[in-house]
């Protein structure tokens, strides 16, 4: 109703200059008029300009006096023109507060004389100027600042901000507001209503609710990519589902000497339960013992006392090369010898201090080729093939040292972003002291390489703290928001 009134008014007039006046003249509530104005302004049917005024308004007390008269006038009226009235009697007629204020003001105005017993009129008639002033203010009239101050002091008026609008026609002005539809429904279609409807424009900039559904972990997306690279290159996946390993397979079978920094440098988790392995392949163990102690197969050996108790100690495997040892040993038992390619990507454990780039658990990627007459050049070739599929084609190799490979190479790739050579992996040719005791003939060689899964993932996804990638502290937002893995695409 009010909306109609506003729109009709604007239809025939330039503007509604004061929404407050309009409200008064039409009898609508000003608040309602203001709300409707805002809404109409939002849809550009009208153009509303805000008006702000500061006006004096009567307090509750002021309103009371405006109606029934000021206390002093009330008091004055209660005193008979002749003879006066006893104080007691006068007091009894009024509320104590009214009496108090009234006496003060009446005496000040020199209207009444307050004797000890009697109260007498000092003049015949008075005018209730306070009431008049209050009525004037209520009426919206302007009064002198002196009067304002005295009324203010008596807390009969207070300063209020008044808001209103001046309203004109807007660009979309029409007598009736058109409703915009935001959801198009079946009913609209069936009823034919859709022909007359106006649709709210889609806001393509608004944030939508993310679709509900599942997400995969970025580390495992990269793992999948790398598995595919290996399989495409003809590598067979090794069975790696045993985290508990004996020192024999983790170290000794790999010709890693006991009592040597190389063994500790892995910073190994030794086990309390089961503390020792239940069984070891005995005849193979004898050969391993011998090659450590006194060599053989053309080697000097380490020339130390090899202890069975050391080999029996169980650990959480420090590398998946322990599995490679088992797999190669198994291969060595097969006659005739068949060349094979193997790979694995699985969890390994290191008893290292945890920091931004190191965890106690991480994933190792390992590739192995076992064939006759493999060379270091062959290793470089296969590394080139492999890393090219991961998007790294500019490689450099550096001589390094591993207990179980000789020669050994660190693999470096040139990182375009960081503009420097970055180490991306480790590799080597397994020593004869490892392969021969397994039963391989002299001309069978094995080459292998390894790298961590976490490092390339962190570089790919721009994560610099490994705990933000792996473990319970990973923000679920990362899981839900990580992009598809384009490694090597």
């Amino acid at each position: 109703m009010a909306e109609k009134a506003i729109l009709e008014q604007l239809q025939s007039n330039e503007e509604i200059s004061n929404s407050g006046d309009f409200a008064t003249s039409t009898g609508f509530d000003h608040e309602e008029i203001k709300n409707i104005t805002r809404s109409l302004h939002g849809f550009q049917l009208v153009d509303a300009q805000e008006i702000k005024k500061e006006i004096w308004e009567l307090t509750n007390e002021g309103k009371l006096y405006a109606e029934i008269g000021s206390p002093e006038f009330q008091l004055f009226s209660a005193v008979p023109p002749e003879g006066g009235i006893s104080r007691q009697e006068l007091q009894q007629k009024f509320d104590p507060l009214v009496y108090k204020i009234g006496c003060q003001a009446a005496v000040k105005n020199k209207w009444l004389e307050m004797g000890r017993q009697q109260v007498l009129r000092k003049i015949q008639t008075v005018e209730d100027s306070v009431k008049d002033l209050l009525l004037q203010i209520k009426d919206g009239q302007v009064i002198s600042s002196e009067d304002i101050n005295s009324l203010k002091r008596r807390k009969l008026i207070e300063l209020k901000t008044w808001n209103g609008y001046s309203i004109r026609k807007g660009p979309n002005f029409s007598l009736e507001r058109k409703k915009l539809v935001s959801v198009f429904t079946r009913e609209h279609l069936l009823s034919g209503e859709w022909k007359n409807l106006e649709f709210k424009k889609y806001n393509f900039d608004a944030n939508a609710l993310p679709p509900s559904g599942g997400h995969l972990h970025p580390l495992l997306k990269v793992r999948e990519r790398i598995r595919n690279i290996f399989i495409a290159m003809g590598f067979k996946e090794m069975q790696t589902n045993n985290y508990v390993e004996s020192s024999f397979w983790n170290f000794d079978a790999l010709f890693q000497p006991q009592q040597h920094p190389a063994r500790d440098s892995h910073d190994t988790f030794f086990l309390k339960a089961p503390s020792t392995t239940l069984s070891l392949p005995e005849s193979y163990l004898d050969k391993v013992k011998q090659v450590h102690e006194s060599g053989g197969y053309g080697s000097k050996g380490y020339q130390y006392e090899w202890k069975r108790e050391e080999a029996e100690k169980n650990v959480f495997r420090t590398h998946t090369t322990a599995v490679t040892a088992r797999v190669l040993y198994s291969l060595a038992q097969q006659r005739p010898f068949t060349p094979q390619r193997y790979f694995s990507i699985d969890r390994v454990f290191r008893n290292e201090a945890v920091d931004r780039t190191h965890l106690a658990e991480f994933h190792q990627i390992e590739g192995v080729i076992c064939d006759r007459g493999l060379t270091l050049a062959d290793l470089m070739q296969v590394l080139q093939d492999f890393f090219k599929k991961m998007g790294m084609s500019n490689l450099k190799f550096k001589a390094t040292c591993n207990p179980y490979t000789e020669p050994s190479m660190e693999i470096y790739s040139y990182h375009e972003g960081l503009k420097k050579w970055v180490e991306i992996g480790n590799s080597g040719m397994f020593r004869p002291e490892m392969l021969r005791p397994m039963g391989f003939p002299e001309d069978v060689t094995a080459i292998a390489w390894g790298l961590s899964l976490e490092r390339p993932t962190m570089i790919l996804y721009g994560i610099d703290n490994i705990r933000d990638l792996f473990g319970p502290k990973v923000d679920l937002k990362l899981i839900k928001r990580n992009p598809i893995c384009k490694l090597g695409m």
Partner: protein, 498 residues
């Protein structure tokens, strides 16, 4: 991997060249070392060089400089010599049987007429620390003691006595301590307390005496103050007590091969006779090279390059492996490799092959490797397409697979589109209107799926990832495929935000 600190300026003087840091890093890269850290100590620039865990000859400044000089062809491989003195004139150490209870072995030698300066003296002490940390496994396997020979007199005895019977003034102290008192005294010593456990539970402690019952050392804890060395020492008596004899010999050899260069008779070492408790006599050090005969093919074959014997020999020489052609008969050419006492890491032919490869240069081996890749692989487009399909499905959309061929109307009037006659591929002999054109958009397939599945509970969320066919003059046939993806949401309301 051990990190050896060396003064940069001293290092470059030793190498005879002022390298830039980058040049030096390249040299390290090619040899198999790594410049791990650059620090400044008292205005001196210190390079921390990371070396292989099994190269004890690289654990000090002298070893690094020597190896790099030989690698660069500046020096020949030194010939280490045990000087030829008659057994009777050799200093002796007699081992008492009780030592078998706690620390059975001792080896020993003398560096005669040596001249230290501040730097080489510090290097001498540092090498002992490095060896103690590494191969000696925190002194448990081997402990080194170095003494001023001029303050003591042979013959020496290596004994094991109850702690209370041992009494001497230890290094850095002025008063005398009993063995058991020393254990208590060092409990609070930051450096030494970690070695106490090696002997403290033993009923007897190892101790070395000279002929005047002067205590040389209480291994592996501390030396005596009496025989302490200094930069002014001219004759050094070295003793290594151990529980592992092989490692003790390696340690002793490392000490003398590294520092005999400062002796008046360069690379000459004076032997000491050790007499075991059962009367057996051994002379140390044993600096004889370890001889290996390796077929040439085993060296070059393992690496995968071809090189003749002379090339291999000259390359091995640069790695401190003295090599020469074998004169033995047979078709196969063999190399006789003399492994010096500095290279205890060489055990088998593969170690020789690696040194050959390093001297040959890994980058030169890489240059012979083909750059074309082999093996299986995928097209990038297939890969990315599959990953996207997966993401769609994980977002709750189901995949549909629809026809490439459709009717002309399907791609025009049914989509409110006009044919501009330059987009779609048309069939000249369609069997029916269903086979008139190839789709130019995935829309018809999705919409038809909805039509045929009207009974299906809503919302219907489907997607398709597949090829459309378009006319294209860039292709030889005049048309090409283009990979599209499309998704459709159908419900009883428009659901802009799904």
């Amino acid at each position: 991997m051990p990190k050896v600190p060396v003064g940069r300026d001293r290092l470059f003087r030793g190498l005879g060249k002022e390298y830039t840091q980058e040049e030096f890093e390249d040299l390290c890269f090619n040899f198999g070392l790594e410049l791990d850290d650059v620090a400044t100590e008292d205005d001196e620039v210190i390079y921390k060089i990371e070396v292989a865990a099994n190269r004890y000859d690289l654990l000090c400044f002298e070893g690094i400089v020597q190896s790099l000089r030989i690698f660069k062809g500046l020096d020949q491989i030194p010939k280490y010599v045990v000087c030829n003195i008659p057994r009777e004139s050799m200093l002796k150490i007699k081992i008492k049987p009780e030592t078998a209870l706690v620390r059975p072995f001792v080896v020993s030698t003398v560096l005669r007429d040596i001249t230290f300066d501040q730097a080489s003296y510090k290097s001498f002490i540092d090498l002992q620390d490095m060896l103690h940390q590494n191969i000696c496994r925190g002194r448990t396997l081997v402990a080194i003691g170095t003494h001023d020979l001029d303050t003591i007199q042979g013959p020496f005895t290596y004994e094991a006595l109850p702690p209370t019977e041992i009494n001497f003034v230890p290094l850095k102290q002025v008063k005398s301590f009993r063995g058991d008192e020393l254990m208590k005294f060092y409990e609070s010593d930051l450096k030494l307390k970690k070695f106490l456990h090696i002997i403290e539970k033993s009923p007897v402690f190892p101790v070395i005496y000279d002929r005047n019952r002067t205590v040389l050392s209480l291994p592996p804890i501390i030396n005596g103050a009496h025989s302490a060395i200094s930069p002014q020492t001219k004759n050094v008596f070295i003793e290594c007590t151990a529980t592992d004899l092989t490692k003790a010999k390696i340690v002793l050899n490392t000490m003398v091969t590294m520092f005999s260069m400062y002796c008046k008779r360069k690379f000459e070492v004076e032997p000491v006779e050790v007499i075991s408790s059962d009367g057996q006599s051994y002379v140390y050090p044993d600096l004889s090279p370890y001889s290996m005969e390796v077929p040439l093919s085993k060296i070059t074959g393992r690496i995968g390059v071809s090189a003749d014997a002379n090339q291999v020999i000259s390359l091995l020489n640069r790695m401190q492996l003295l090599a020469e052609k074998s004169v033995s008969s047979g078709d196969e050419c063999s190399i006789i490799v003399s492994v010096p006492p500095t290279r205890s890491d060489v055990l088998e032919a593969c170690d020789v092959a690696e040194d050959f490869a390093i001297a040959y240069g890994f980058e030169n081996i890489l240059a012979k490797v083909s750059s074309s890749t082999r093996g299986g692989g995928e097209q990038s487009l297939s890969q990315i397409s599959n990953l996207i399909r997966l993401e769609f499905a994980m977002s709750g959309f189901s995949e549909v697979l629809t026809w490439i061929l459709c009717s002309y109307n399907d791609i025009t009037t049914m989509l409110n589109q006009k044919d501009d006659n330059s987009t779609s591929v048309k069939i000249s002999n369609p069997r029916s209107s269903d086979f008139e054109v190839a789709r130019t958009t995935l829309m018809p397939g999705l919409l038809k799926t909805v039509r045929e599945n009207n009974h299906h509970p809503k919302p219907i969320k489907i997607f398709e990832v597949g090829d459309v066919v378009l006319l294209n003059e860039m292709n030889d046939v005049g048309a090409r495929n283009r990979h599209h993806l499309a998704a459709l949401y159908c419900d009883d309301h428009s659901g802009f935000e799904v």
